[in-house]
Symmetry: C2
Subunit: 216 residues, 2 copies
């Protein structure tokens, strides 16, 4: 069966977005620092329709993560860009532009029913109003042999972790303390989850790339 994973960058103090998030600054203060390493890679730039970028181990890591992923699940705020346009207009197209970087089916957890949204470049947003189990079943079917990735945010990751559905997690630890913001791992899991370290590697940028398997 295909795997449920996530692949998220955090600060050493555990934040996946900084404090003072706003429409203009959805990643919060210092939040861009977490993604600098990815944004510099050729593989990431290519998926975003951009030229150039660095090749090397970081780019290969991003390329392999992109290649392995057949469907993405995300929360409503990640679709709309934090406190973005969706807050005032639930039919807005989110902040991913005309050609979102996913190029595969994306399932958005929301309370607002809405028709699927087919974008350019192979991304379709499907809005799921009946819970995380339903989103996972739909994503599993859509992903085929590939993995399903939880895009975020942190609360969506928590829900799938708490329900015991996550198979693997890729966590990139960036060399910065953001001092506040949104945590990837909250205090609300309320149970111990056994994990096994599968591999670590070090980026020239000082980011630690980790891959853990959730023990069964």
């Amino acid at each position: 069966m295909n795997k449920l994973t996530f692949d998220i960058s955090i600060s050493l103090d555990g934040f996946c977005a900084g404090p003072d998030q706003s429409l203009e600054d959805p990643l919060g203060k210092g939040g861009r620092r977490l993604h600098e390493w990815t944004a510099a890679t050729r593989a990431w730039r290519e998926s975003h329709g951009l030229d150039g970028g660095e090749t090397g181990a970081d780019s290969e890591l991003v390329a392999s993560s992109i290649a392995d992923t057949g469907a993405t699940i995300m929360g409503r705020r990640m679709f709309s860009g934090g406190t973005g346009p969706w807050e005032s207009d639930p039919n807005a197209n989110g902040w991913w532009g005309e050609t979102p970087p996913f190029h595969h089916p994306v399932f958005v957890l929301t309370h607002h029913e809405r028709e699927p949204l087919e974008m350019q470049g192979g991304t379709t947003f499907t809005f799921v109003t009946n819970g995380i189990e339903s989103a996972l079943a739909q994503a599993r079917a859509a992903a085929g042999e590939k993995d399903i990735r939880i895009g975020g945010g942190g609360s969506v990751v928590q829900q799938y972790l708490a329900a015991g559905h996550v198979d693997e997690m890729t966590v990139h630890i960036a060399p910065v303390l953001l001092g506040g913001g949104t945590r990837l791992f909250s205090d609300e899991l309320e149970r111990l989850v056994e994990i096994e370290m599968v591999q670590i590697s070090e980026s020239p940028t000082g980011v630690i790339h980790t891959l853990y398997r959730v023990a069964r």
Copy 2:
């Protein structure tokens, strides 16, 4: 000048102690898991007056941390063992036994004035009631050429980080999600701290050993 450091084990989700801490279980649920790798080493066992233990890279890391440290600063709860005997008797000797594992001067941040406590094996507890700057100055003088280590807990680490006094941090990331408890890095730092990764290594136990320098 000698360096102010800390050397603390956390879970991947950032906790340095688990939930449900009590006098009987000061590390909280699952908290022992963070220290299994240290407790297995010959160097740690030796500092605790115990025979045996594993040699190898983990033990060398512990030995070098012990050798480099000339003084320790800790909070009152770390001295007394969480909700330990000091809560009811401020003159109790804490939970470190007759021969504490430090073997050097220890400065305890507290609001209760008290005469220094000289233990066996070279550990003296000095109680500091006039703040973190005073404790640091006293520890610096006592440490000589060696480093000063913040023993914990998390809130003491935060205070020294916020004040900009920390030079280096050693963080060991254990392969477990505790799901709750006490965080090493809280949400209260309220400013971004630039850090540089100095080195990482991987323990056979799946723990990631990291060393960061705080950028100036």
